[in-house]
Symmetry: C4
Subunit: 230 residues, 4 copies
């Protein structure tokens, strides 16, 4: 880290000295596409999804003495398996969504980089609430585990809307060949994310099992093919 | 995560407003190839294979006092080395297989994305059964370690068949220039995976060492060059 | 690792036997561009940024008994959250800076590879000072945590200047179409990095909270869009 | 993992049904280049190099009470810093070497895939001997730590020679435009690796500090620009 012009390249700088000098190759360079942003984001998604398994810990030595003990200890890890499953599916869906969104981008703006970094910040954080969920589910503090988990998903849904807003409203960010109807359709569907997970959060306030049920239901819903084709 | 249309782009949407408007560039975009799916999967394979080493732990401080103690403690880690070796080879083979399969894909369908995510879910899980194997092999609970390990491999073999089914049967998914004989040859060879590892599972029910021997034999077999060229 | 000619390809070897033989394809090969350097660096950045979450540990079992205990334990993790946030933002900015710098490179020199490896060495190290910061902030040893953290950032800023020097001064390294004004502008802004974080270091010598405040201020500053466009 | 034809694609299958049918596009597909092998290997190198930091552990709580204690505990971590430094440099050099080697490859053979997997197996293992070195250096068992570390490097040097042999001797593997002198020069330099690290191993048998000194000397040597240009 070394300069206050970190995101300089993202700027559309039509009147710069260099732009004047070398028009041809300059265009491809200054007006950069989202390829590098996408590659870096893909890396973070792939690593975060694969780190999830590190939170499933082999039972301690004292549970490894007899088969009965070990089987029971492995069974007691069910919150870890559930957390792995739900978080894996969620990050997988996020990755797919992120790609769908980024491929509508023509030019990467400063706001897009920042809101993408915000999204990755929360995506990269997911292993922690997943571990907390695994450690608390089915115990007296399970409610807090589910609340933190649902809260993380609310944040991700909000971050996706912020990112999408940067794509939609940024000058020249959205590809010109994307039509209004597609944009509106995405906007509508993204708007459902934050209230959806807020419902899970509120349900968890009443009963943690209900909160988990809502989360699982939402994730399952996202795994279905969309019916927006008509 | 923000919308119920997560995998929208995968759909073949010939009559959409955008398709009508921008025929040329739209084709390359809506009918997407498997490049991004492959890059993301590669990331998960590479990370899962590299995380395996984290399960080999340096002996605790009390074993570090004399050379004799340390050597004996390092020797006692043989199940960790074996697990690392077998799981590394397995994930490496899976990566090669996955590539061979994906390069036959013309268009990525929703079912393909889902069954690929299922496969990655199990691949990403491999470090856990590997750690369990390392913790139990050669102890009274070694049988459970081998059973879980063999069971994981059965699941992977099944997931590969599910993925291949999505490639074969999905409308337009398989590249049109792939001939029937190649498809049948792959189908036959994939069909051998689940029963093969089921044999390892059953052998482990009788004797965990037999189970491991079958697994090692299968992995060694997969490392051989195929004789299907004739 | 196997030979003393590790970075041979980076060398500009105009009189080699091979260069004489195969001029056309040789050029693209010997005079290699920075694509591979960039891909490897991107991987290290993406992994280092995602590993940060592993330093946020779920509270131990004794804090999981009641909701009050757990909430208080989660609250006590604030230094971990802060460290995650600041280090994530820092590595994200470094990634953006690194890209801006590398895209000015025409030919990868030996010095560039070495100074890039030095930078990655420190970037890959960031999770450790972050964990140390999280373990000490708000305790009697917090000052050391902040000093090590600020010192790491000073090192990174210095490494960026070393890397930039290799780009600027290396024979043929800088792309010929980059004009003098752009080079001078980057040089000026990079020069601010080391003294900036040195101020944070000195401030932490007086008061660790002041040191953290300077670091957070600098990182926030880097997140702003640059005003160098005029 | 699902079939005994894992590496089928690597084979040169001139008489296959598909080759007969679709000559044009088939060539690019069956006779595949090393791009995918390289991308997967790069991932493993980048992850292994970044995982090294996880072996540097924050001192335990009892050392965090006073600044004097913490400073002394941080100082006592010098074997961890040294291990991080040497292993980072080594993996970095291996990555550069690997790239130089792979870019001479025209066609990926089955033997090349296997020997590459063998190399990655050892590269991915490096964090373990590094952690063992860090845990033992400067203690009575330091000799074993250095021996295992040097032994790992001997294995890597041997694996590089095996890989290079696959490139040199495999039918059609080496690019036809690589001349004999370049091949011989690489062969000579690779041949020096195994005896070089064997010297470090033998030196460590006499005195662990001497062993480390030889290793550090070799790594420093590899970091120098090659003088083979003349």
């Amino acid at each position: 880290m070394a300069e206050p012009t970190a995101f300089d390249e993202a700027a559309d700088e039509p009147g710069s000295a260099r732009a004047d000098r070398d028009r041809g190759s300059e265009r491809a360079e200054t007006r950069r596409g989202p390829e590098r942003l996408e590659a870096f984001s893909d890396g973070v998604f792939a690593i975060a999804i694969t780190l999830l398994v590190l939170e499933i810990r082999v039972p301690p030595a004292q549970d490894l003495d007899t088969s009965a003990h070990l089987l029971s200890a492995l069974g007691a890890l069910w919150p870890s398996y559930l957390g792995y499953l739900v978080s894996f599916a969620t990050i997988g869906i996020m990755w797919a969504n992120h790609h769908n969104l980024i491929r509508l981008v023509a030019i990467v703006s400063h706001g897009l980089i920042l809101s993408n970094l915000l999204l990755l910040l929360i995506v990269g954080f997911v292993p922690f609430p997943t571990a907390l969920l695994a450690a608390t589910l089915g115990t007296p503090t399970g409610q807090i585990g589910v609340l933190v988990y649902a809260g993380t998903f609310v944040s991700i849904a909000v971050a996706f809307n912020v990112l999408w807003d940067q794509v939609r409203r940024g000058r020249g960010v959205l590809r010109p060949d994307v039509d209004r109807r597609s944009v509106d359709s995405i906007t509508r569907s993204y708007r459902l994310g934050p209230p959806g997970f807020l419902v899970a959060f509120v349900a968890a306030l009443i009963n943690p099992a209900w909160g988990m049920a809502v989360i699982i239901g939402l994730v399952a819903l996202y795994l279905l093919p969309s019916s927006s084709g008509a």
